[in-house]
């Protein structure tokens, strides 16, 4: 016997959850599917093919106040309320990578408390995201989530992975059922030879491919903003008229021209091809060396939303040579 969430129970289950938590889920808004706060009457699109923004903004908000100042002196703003977020398995994998990045020797308290406040429900449904290449990356889907919902047609098989997850599954709308006999979805053969790709990227930015890409890429940074793993940030003091304000964390992008600019005018990645190379190198060489896996889950958003229509997947594969 396993726990099961019949699909017809989904909306009542969400309504019930939203009484104790803020609930976030992919929902259709103005023709776009995006992660938004669930309210009664919403029909979440758990089998989304893409969302314009990844779920990272809930854990690493753009414009987060790190320290507020003025008046009584600097203080750390209180954490937001507890929330539950539904996302697919690929996006949940990205969160597990962010967990490693913002953990480690220097723990990022802000990220950490968002994670402690959150319950992640990963949905496994075999839906291929637009331009996705997750299967080719050979993702292992570590346990970066609290509950796993596996879509088996008319119902989701629900498994709790953590205490937070078990609490969530105590709902009366989760019933006992049978394990699925449905075969796992087909997976493509792993194509990404990270060893080879990483070795090529280590050759640096003066390879032909980066000079070619420089002619196509606008260096606009969209690929970083829509990436569920990209996390580089800048910190600026936002000041109010009364002199108080917030030391604020903003999303940044290594593709932008002033990313490595220092006071005095030296720019350590002033050339576009150097910045393009760095984006790929970080994801597929440095991250692999640091943590044994790339800073990429193959969700395909960077391809889907690239205004220059660069086939990033193909470009990575070119690096195998």
């Amino acid at each position: 016997m396993v726990k099961v969430l019949p699909k017809e129970n989904l909306s009542v289950f969400l309504a019930e959850l939203s009484r104790s938590y803020a609930v976030f889920a992919p929902v259709k808004r103005d023709e776009l599917t995006r992660f938004d706060r669930y309210s009664a009457g919403d029909h979440p699109t758990l089998d989304y093919s893409t969302t314009n923004m990844p779920p990272k903004s809930l854990f690493l908000p753009h414009g987060e106040c790190l320290v507020s100042f003025g008046g009584a002196g600097p203080s750390v703003p209180a954490a937001d309320e507890k929330f539950v977020i539904f996302m697919n398995e690929i996006d949940a994998e990205a969160i597990s990578i962010l967990d490693e990045i913002f953990g480690g020797k220097f723990q990022d308290n802000y990220y950490r408390r968002m994670r402690e406040n959150s319950v992640i429900v990963a949905v496994k449904n075999g839906v291929r995201m637009r331009n996705s290449f997750s299967d080719e990356l050979g993702l292992k889907f570590r346990d970066g989530f609290d509950v796993l919902l596996s879509d088996v047609g008319d119902r989701y098989v629900a498994e709790a992975r953590t205490a937070k997850g078990r609490k969530l599954l105590k709902s009366k709308f989760i019933v006992n059922g049978r394990a699925s006999s449905k075969a796992a979805s087909k997976t493509k053969a792993k194509k990404f030879d990270l060893k080879k790709i990483s070795a090529f990227l280590d050759k640096g930015p003066e390879q032909k491919i980066w000079h070619e890409l420089e002619k196509e890429c606008f260096a606009c940074g969209i690929c970083a903003y829509v990436c569920p793993v990209c996390h580089c940030f800048d910190v600026e003091d936002a000041v109010r008229l009364d002199g108080g304000g917030c030391r604020t964390r903003y999303w940044d992008s290594c593709m932008l021209a002033d990313f490595a600019l220092v006071a005095g005018g030296a720019n350590f990645r002033g050339k576009r091809h150097e910045r393009i190379h760095n984006w790929y190198h970080h994801k597929f060489a440095r991250a692999v060396a640091e943590r044994g896996r790339p800073d990429c889950v193959g969700c395909g958003r960077c391809i889907t939303f690239c205004p220059a229509k660069i086939k990033i997947h193909d470009r990575i594969l070119e690096c195998r040579k």
Binding site: Q107, D234, E236, A260, A263, H282, E290
Partner: protein, 278 residues
Amino acid sequence: MKNIYLPEKAVVVQTEELGGDSTLLTMRIKDAKKQAKFTWTPGQFAEIGLFGYGEIPVGLASNPLDRKSFQVSVRGVGGFSNALRRLEKGDAVWVRGPFGNGFPIKRMHGKDVIVVGGGCGIPPLRSLVEYGIAKKDFKSITLLYGSRTKGDLLFRRDYGRWKKAGVDIRLTVDKEECECADRLAVSCSVGVVTKLLDSFKPKKNTVACLCGPPVMYRFVSKRLIELGVKQKDILLSLERRMKCGVGKCQHCTINKTYVCVDGPVFTHEELMKGYGGF
């Protein structure tokens, strides 16, 4: 748990104009216990901040064995650095750190140390020189320091004391000026800092510590290697946009390293391994 982005309050104890658009700030962390624990390895940096402006990474410039206060030199190049230069005794500053690795002083024990500085790259080297003098840790210290003009040579007040302590100081300026009233405790030649290496004969155990602009690194490293200094014994302190200081924000990366965590001091050997550079 410690919040890595929350700075510690410090107070400006003294300010001193150094010339070259630079100001030396002497500071003390408000919490006496924390101040007593605030020490570093020469070459490490701290994030110095003012609320309403932001933070900048600066090399710690004083003797790390002095636990009563610490110093940084700030060159006024932008709105924030100039705001720091306007600080007065008693004003509050906010500090995070120390961060990074610093010079490998354990490995440098008993060695002949040559310190090469360019322009406003001298502050972390000053920390090293002061440490070396106080600890008598190195066999010898030779300081080669070059800047554009005599007025840009920082820490002029220290040269006499350093010389007395046995430091071999050689200075140079890019251009000779007839109207320079500064009287230095040591003589000063004209030319780029590499020129000072012409008369320099490294010993077998010489370790070189460099801090200055990338162009200086290129020429000085080349010359040192020609003179027989091993690549692993040439240590360079790099400048990058170290925003967070803790290896998260991604601004300061070179190849597979974070300048803020793995550096800012690297050996020439390390930097030449990948596609990196200075």
